[in-house]
């Protein structure tokens, strides 16, 4: 699975979730004249969910695609480099033996 398709799936699920929480009947759960910090519950709810959705979109889009790769497939260029530096001699001698 590519990082792009994982990203698409996550974003699409945010969209579906948004459709759910921004509509009735979920809205009717908050459609009461209750006040939090003096502000009507429905407004608090809508702005809060709105903010949460925006933040999740920020998180999903800003994570670097490489982090989506499964662990074992992660490219490890740094490790390869150290391998080359630490043990170049046996490789060469092996080559000679082979010849």
């Amino acid at each position: 699975m590519t990082p792009e398709s994982i990203k698409s799936k996550r974003i699409f699920s945010i969209f579906l979730l948004g459709c759910l929480v921004f509509n009735f009947p979920i809205l009717s759960l908050f459609n009461y004249k209750i006040f939090i910090w003096g502000i009507p519950l429905l407004y608090i709810y809508l702005f809060f969910v709105w903010g949460v959705i925006i933040i999740s979109l920020i998180l999903i889009t800003s994570i670097h695609p490489k982090k989506y790769l499964p662990r074992d497939k992660k490219p490890k260029p740094s490790k390869q480099q150290t391998d080359n530096q630490s043990s170049p001699k046996p490789k060469i001698s092996l080559h000679r033996n082979g010849e």
Binding site: I14, G18, K33, L46
Partner: protein, 911 residues
């Protein structure tokens, strides 16, 4: 005191600033240093969504219906998230097909249909005109209110009583038209992008946001002590309690859902959103950031709507002041002169940005999709034969901009005043939402076809006219109100607000339900029951599978015809102007490394490229007609299209690939078998050759072992034979090893400059004993001086020995003559070894250099030698880049000749 002059000064000053920004943006674009190519500008320009309706109307709607104003901004938030899937696809398609408007997009998707493009354009113009008039109304009202500062006077005069030339709204409309013409139609672009315009729009988005936030903060924290303070004061008034929640009537949840749906669709279906979001998009990666920046913008501009609404209601409890003007009248009543002016400018920025982009988008559609097809198909005008049409096209567009603004102004004067800001906006949303099934279906559903889209659009729009547009004429007094109250001709079932007795919803929800039912129903139904034409099927696949097909440079396989390059060139330069046409064509030709002057006939790719260039200027439907006029098209049959596009094509291709691979494998297998057989032959021959001497060695050794009394002389003879036979064995084995080494490339060659004359003499010396024994004479014809050749001395020595001993074998003992010639040719040396022996027949000459081929000679019994000598000789000569051949006539003798390149002249020895 705000002088009218000061207001004018700021209004025109602001417009001047916009001009400056747009000019700067265009200049930067011209020198290739775009200022709009970043996601922040893209997101800000998307906020053209927020018009005067947002700026003034949100508060008005909050006052009338409470939280429901928010649904208009929640929809776009959801759509922005979906933008990753939908918008990105639309952008990719539009970039590949050079699509410049929503009409073009729909037309192109359904087979570049001109009729569809025309219908979409008409719907867009009729649907959006009220929306434009709403902006003009907002500018006009806000101007009249602020003009009376510090008094708050609602503009009560009917607009249609002011002479047009004295009406500020008219002046504003003219100024806006001027701006749109200057920056929207500077030149015909193949991509129809306007960098300066986008820069100005982004700037306007900043202005309106800052203005609204400033007035919001002023109201909330300077007039009152924060949100809690305003709301607790509002709670003291029981009449305002309804505004804390969404009403609990029957249809509320449906109304809410529909307005979220409409605002979602508006983000892609409104011509201005399509223009900014798709056509003006610089890089589709910008969606990445815009998908949260744009919702964030919407959230920010809505935070202070509720406090402003309550503050307005608390300040003007008697309802004397229109709630749509609260954001302006509140600073005025607090004597905040500067702030009021800033708010006025903010409202103007919201209105102007919308009007400018919308008119440009509409004018493109009017020009490409209404005027062009008519002109192209009118034979009388001979329009299509004109030489330069690019200026003419620009004139049409400019006229289009003027026309839309004029229509907007007319609507404003005669109908607009009867409506509050919000409902006009939603009526427009409902109209453009008719595009949604054709667009969304078009990019995800291949089977949607032209007929279906056409029926859906016309049906849906007809319902819209009946349920929303005609009732608005009733309100304006053009139609008798019985039409709404009792239904046409008194038929209650046909009442436009309660069609077929559907009740309990507001008029928008009602209209959206019926129009979408008809639209989607017709789109899907007709699509399922009719067959698409080949071009529709092609376009459908290209749109739906755009990410699959666009990995390449975006070439479509639709055109298979050819056209002459001069024809194409003149066609393009008629519409784009000579310079742009040449640029566009040479860009393609450079990319594909085609020589301008040499190739007179263009391939399908170039034709396709030309059509896309043209589509950018005049729309896909007209472009297709024009290109078809110069192209000798080999039309595609439906089967062919299906073959090209269907999944089966890939399967077929895949199986062909498999077939090819398996054939290759089969061939390789055959070769392996052949090699295997050769190897078997080789081994059996070698073992046979080994067994013959071994058998005699063993036999003689057994005789010696079993008969100790054997005579001394005989014993000596036997042991001599044993020694000879083992020597022969050794020679054979070392030859096999040599050959094997040469063939596997593991032979170590010691290449040095050598004197071939010396090698010949050495070989002859080494064999002199043999010659003497057999009584064979030798004759040497060697030149005095021989140029050096590069080679391996030992191997060439071996070659000479092989050839001479071979000659010895063929010669009759006593009387045989071996002649060795050395020739110095142009760039090589040639050595001949000639005997006067029995010769070799023609058939045998061909195979003599093969392994283990011994010339069987019945008259002489068992052949001597291994059969490998000549093979090795040939390999050695090959290695030295020489040639070896044989000439012979049976009974007369044989001549073996080989060549060696002279050092520094011919080809060098392989290293």
């Amino acid at each position: 005191m705000l002088e009218t002059g000061i207001i004018f000064f700021f209004s025109f000053g602001y417009m001047g600033l916009l001009f400056a920004i747009a000019y700067y943006g265009d200049r930067r674009a011209d020198i290739g240093r775009s200022i709009i190519s970043n996601p922040y500008i893209y997101a800000l320009s998307l906020a053209v969504y927020c018009t005067a309706w947002t700026f003034y109307g949100s508060v008005g709607r909050a006052v009338h219906t409470g939280p429901s104003f928010l649904s208009i901004y929640l929809g776009p938030t959801l759509m922005a998230a979906l933008g990753w899937v939908v918008l990105k696809k639309i952008i990719r398609i539009s970039k590949i097909h050079h699509i410049t408007s929503i009409a073009d997009f729909i037309a192109s998707r359904y087979g570049k249909s001109a009729s569809l493009a025309g219908v979409v354009t008409i719907i867009a113009v009729l649907g959006v005109i009220p929306y434009i008039s709403l902006q003009l109304k907002a500018i006009s009202i806000s101007f009249q209110i602020i003009q009376n500062y510090p008094d708050i006077v609602m503009p009560s005069v009917h607009f249609d009583q002011i002479p047009v030339l004295k009406d500020t709204t008219f002046h504003v409309a003219v100024l806006l038209a001027l701006f749109a013409i200057l920056f929207g139609t500077r030149h015909l672009e193949a991509t129809e992008r306007h960098e300066g315009l986008v820069a100005a729009i982004a700037f306007e988005s900043i202005v309106k946001l800052v203005a609204f936030l400033t007035v919001g903060i002023f109201i909330t924290y300077f007039i009152y002590n924060g949100f809690g303070d305003i709301i607790s004061k509002a709670r003291e008034n029981p009449e305002l309690h309804e505004l804390f929640t969404v009403g609990m009537e029957n249809g509320t949840s449906a109304d809410w859902g529909v307005s979220i749906f409409l605002s979602m669709m508006a983000i892609i279906c409104l011509p201005r959103q399509f223009q900014i979001g798709v056509v003006e998009n610089v890089n589709e990666e910008h969606i990445n950031k815009a998908m949260w920046l744009f919702p964030l913008y919407l959230l920010a501009i809505n935070i202070f709507v509720l406090p402003a609404a309550f503050a307005g209601l608390l300040h003007f409890p008697d309802g004397s002041v229109d709630a749509d003007t609260f954001v302006l009248t509140l600073p005025m009543i607090e004597n905040q002169e500067g702030l009021a002016l800033f708010v006025y400018i903010g409202g103007m920025s919201a209105a102007t940005s919308m009007v400018i982009v919308e008119t440009i988008a509409l004018s493109t559609m009017i020009c490409n999709d209404l005027v062009m097809p008519v002109l192209l198909w009118m034979p009388l005008t001979r329009f299509a034969q004109r030489s330069d049409l690019s200026h003419f096209l620009l004139t049409i567009r400019r006229a289009g901009i003027a026309l839309t603004l004029l229509l907007g102004y007319t609507y404003f004067r005669f109908i607009g005043e009867f409506y509050p800001l919000v409902s006009i906006g939603l009526v427009s949303f409902a109209a453009v939402a008719q595009f949604a099934p054709a667009i969304i279906g078009g990019i995800f559903w291949k089977d949607g076809n032209r007929m279906g889209a056409l029926c859906g659009l016309i049906g849906g729009f007809a319902v819209w006219i009946y349920t929303l547009f005609l009732p608005s004429l009733v309100q304006a007094g053009f139609i008798h109100q019985n039409f709404v109250l009792e239904g046409p001709f008194g038929i209650a079932l046909l009442k436009p607000f309660q069609l077929f007795g559907l009740e309990g919803f507001n008029s928008i929800t009602h209209a959206v339900f019926w129009s979408m039912l008809v639209n989607i129903g017709a789109y899907v139904g007709v699509s399922v029951f009719t067959r698409p034409s080949p071009i529709e099927a092609t376009q459908a696949a290209l749109f739906v599978d755009v990410f699959k097909y666009s990995r390449g440079p975006g070439e479509s396989f639709f055109w298979r015809g050819t056209a002459s390059v001069p024809d194409l060139r003149s066609l393009l330069s008629r519409f784009l102007g000579k310079q742009r046409a040449d640029e566009g064509l040479s860009e393609y030709m450079n990319r594909h490394q085609i020589d301008w002057n040499k190739s007179l006939t263009s391939d399908a790719g170039l034709v396709n490229h030309a059509e896309k260039l043209l589509a950018g200027a005049i729309g896909s439907a007209s472009a297709r007609v024009m290109v078809a006029s110069v192209v000798k098209e080999e039309s595609l049959g439906i089967e062919e299209v299906m073959n090209i596009l269907d999944e089966t094509r890939q399967v077929i291709e895949y199986s062909r690939e498999l077939e090819k691979t398996s054939l290759e494998l089969q061939a390789a297998n055959e070769r392996l078998k052949e090699l295997d057989k050769l190897k078997d032959d080789f081994i059996s021959t070698v073992t046979h050759e080994l067994r013959t001497p071994l058998t005699s060695v063993r036999a003689l050794a057994e005789i010696l072992h079993d008969n100790p009394n054997i005579g001394k002389s005989q014993k000596k003879q036997f042991t001599q034979i044993i020694i000879n036979e083992t020597e022969r064995l050794t020679r054979l084995i070392s030859k096999v090893l040599d050959l094997q080494k040469i063939e596997s490339g593991r032979m170590e060659w010691q290449v040095t400059p050598i004197n071939i004359k010396k090698v010949i003499n050495d070989a002859l010396t080494a064999l002199s004993q043999l010659l003497k024994e057999k009584g064979i004479r030798s004759q040497l014809n060697l030149p005095q001086k021989v140029p050096a050749a590069l080679g391996d001395r030992d191997r060439l020595f071996q070659v000479m020995v092989n050839l001479i001993s071979n000659a010895v074998k063929f010669c009759e003992p006593h009387g045989g003559l071996i002649t060795i010639n050395l020739w110095i040719k142009n760039n090589y040396l040639q050595v001949d070894v000639i005997d006067n022996g029995i010769g070799i027949s023609k058939e045998n000459q061909k195979i003599i250099f093969d392994k283990f081929r011994q010339v069987k000679d019945t008259s002489r019994g068992k052949p001597t030698g291994s059969g490998l000598g000549l093979t090795i000789t040939k390999r050695i000569i090959d290695y030295h880049n020489g040639k070896i051949w044989v000439e012979s006539e049976p009974g007369k003798g044989t001549a073996f000749s080989f060549t060696l390149p002279i050092m520094g002249k011919g080809e060098n020895v392989k290293r």
